[in-house]
């Protein structure tokens, strides 16, 4: 079975600054794949490359077995949908109009939807729990509600591969959990492949089928959470002391940050022992 996303040895630079260096990995179909790493590790650039927004200098990305470069813009959009980190706050359209716009790559010039499109939109809005918000304007919603609307839009655009760039970054705890559950439901119920960038290592550990750990644009580790989230690897990548044990919720790694005052071996040694 062909992979959903095949990243083969890509490199990307902004001017002289190397952002991604010879990155290779594979995302299987129906997988919940999470990319983690410290700030500046190139996570956002990587996801934008998969979405076709950035063009890597070397290497190749295959989407569902075909090189990304061979896809027309609209054809690619029908397969890959992106929920970017910053969604516009002052967007004047209503939630249902916004979600409907997700169907654009499937529609003609004026974006006039058919009955089946409307039905899909209603379904997806119910699935993401925003049906009551249908006639409210995006600019009047809270952060969490807005995020769900744009996720719904992405799902309407493509239910094959969904990319999310730090979707939980500014959300309340409750919304964070809801979003991750939603992604898992999409994976299980609709067979979607989820590729997510996250800064929250613990959430990643609880949901990911496989992880990719980046640092300074290079792949440090990839594989199942238990294999990737070891304290040697994490300490090397994040440069701080961490405690890795087993989560009380089940067979998942749990990462605890150990700040200086608890750490007799702390390098930041404000207290000498």
């Amino acid at each position: 079975m062909t992979a959903a996303v095949d990243v083969i040895n890509i490199s990307l630079a902004y001017g002289k600054k190397a952002v991604l260096q010879e990155v290779s990995f594979t995302v299987n179909r129906g997988e919940f794949f999470i990319i983690i790493g410290p700030n500046g590790s190139g996570k956002t650039s990587l996801i934008k490359s998969i979405a076709g927004i950035e063009q890597p200098r070397n290497g190749r990305i295959d989407i569902l077995g075909r090189p990304l470069a061979d896809y027309g813009r609209k054809a690619l959009a029908r397969k890959v949908a992106l929920v970017p980190q910053t969604a516009p706050v002052d967007f004047p359209f209503t939630v249902s109009e916004t979600v409907l716009m997700g169907r654009a790559p499937h529609l003609g010039l004026l974006g006039l939807e058919s009955e089946s499109d409307s039905k899909l939109v209603r379904q997806v809005m119910a699935f993401t729990g925003i049906t009551e918000l249908a006639d409210r304007r995006i600019e009047h919603l809270s952060g969490g509600e807005r995020q769900r609307a744009f996720v719904a839009r992405a799902v309407c655009q493509s239910s094959e591969i969904i990319l999310l760039d730090e979707p939980t970054a500014s959300l309340d705890l409750a919304y964070q959990a809801r979003l991750m559950d939603l992604m898992e439901a999409l994976k299980n119920d609709r067979g979607a492949t989820i590729v997510m960038v996250s800064h929250d290592v613990n959430l990643a550990a609880l949901y990911a089928d496989r992880l990719l750990l980046l640092k300074d644009g290079q792949v440090m580790s990839q594989g199942r959470p238990a294999d990737v989230l070891t304290y040697e690897t994490l300490e090397k990548v994040y440069g701080c002391t961490l405690l890795v044990d087993k989560s009380p919720l089940g067979d998942f790694p749990r990462i605890t940050l150990v700040p200086g005052k608890f750490n007799p071996f702390s390098r930041s040694g404000s207290r000498s022992l």
Partner: protein
């Protein structure tokens, strides 16, 4: 399967019908009223073509007023659509059709044409058009860099170029004496009084395809509001669409300005007014701006030439005097 009319198309049809009615009413008023008075029945007879005994009224209405109201409608439509497109492209509510240096460049071109003694048409018109195309290219060159067509760079470059052009214009004006100075000032204030059907025909040949093109891109404009990344990821050919909208709209606005001078304020206010009433969907707004903007301009031009006792006011003064309070009223009402 019941064939139900698509809701957007239905809205489009209703809005267009209403505004078309308004435009027609404005056109009829524009033809019937002017600096010379005539009896109502004489006017009606002339409009319906049953008046062989009033040749002078015929000449006035069809040779003088008719080209003028047509031009006013085209100007209002072009300016409104221009403002709408730039507001979407630059994602800035203060954007208006002159913002990318078009007013500065066309004014300099026109002034040079007037100083050199060219006649209004085609001499000064062509010079004005050439001038605005030059400033447009200048703005695009200045703002190109890492991200070509990045919206803030465009905006800033446009403002700077316009400011520079203002200085040049003031210099040229200060150096001119006698009757040419008058001509320059009238051009700068906007002047639709000396047009004929040939000029109107040329302008509509440029504008009508432009309107159609922009209408076809109206859904893309909706999506543009989501931001660069989302627009690309939704399948928009962002560079192509942005460049097409930019060039087509600038071309249309330049062609319009070179015929009628600098009539301002329409392109800023009408899109906002219509958006407040009709919502943000450009598929409805584009035709609304064409018809509504046209009706508004015809009406303002009518006031401009009938209100003053002697002579006529610049049409741009009327558009500002009416547009600004209207806008403020609607703004307050929408805030509640």
């Amino acid at each position: 399967m019941t064939a139900r009319p698509h809701p957007v198309l239905l809205r489009l049809a209703v809005v267009s019908a209403l505004l078309l009615l308004a435009l027609t009413a404005a056109l009829v008023m524009g033809l019937s009223l002017g600096s010379t008075q005539a009896g109502l029945d004489a006017i009606i007879k002339t409009l319906l073509g049953r008046s062989p005994s009033e040749p002078m009224l015929q000449a006035i209405i069809w040779h003088i007023r008719f080209p003028r109201v047509l031009l006013a409608a085209l100007v209002g439509a072009a300016m409104s659509v221009g403002g709408l497109v730039f507001q979407a492209l630059l994602r800035n509510p203060l954007a208006e059709p002159y913002i990318l240096g078009i007013s500065g460049g066309s004014a300099i071109g026109a002034i040079i044409g007037i100083i050199l003694g060219f006649s209004r048409f085609p001499g000064v018109t062509v010079m004005a058009f050439a001038g605005s195309m030059c400033t447009l290219v200048l703005v695009m060159i200045i703002s190109s860099g890492q991200r070509i067509l990045k919206k803030d760079a465009l905006l800033l470059a446009g403002v700077m170029v316009n400011a520079f052009c203002s200085a040049v214009i003031m210099f040229l004006v200060s150096m001119t004496q006698d009757a040419r100075l008058h001509n320059i000032i009238f051009w700068l204030m906007g002047d639709m009084s000396m047009t004929d059907l040939r000029q109107v025909g040329i302008l509509s040949a440029i504008l009508i395809p432009g309107f159609i093109l922009i209408f076809c891109l109206s859904h893309a404009m909706n999506m543009l509001l989501m931001g660069r990344e989302m627009a690309i990821s939704m399948g928009l050919q962002l560079k192509t669409i942005t460049l097409t909208l930019l060039v087509a709209t600038s071309f249309m606005v330049s062609a319009t300005v070179s015929q009628c001078g600098l009539i301002g304020f329409v392109g800023l206010v009408i899109p906002h007014l219509l958006r407040m009433v009709l919502g943000p969907d450009h598929r409805v707004l584009v035709p609304a701006c064409i018809l509504g903007g046209g009706a508004y301009m015809v009406f303002c031009d009518l006031l401009a030439r009938t209100l003053p006792q002697q002579g006529e006011m610049p049409a741009g003064v009327i558009t500002a005097l009416i547009g600004a309070p209207l806008f403020i009223i609607l703004l307050k009402r929408s805030n509640r």
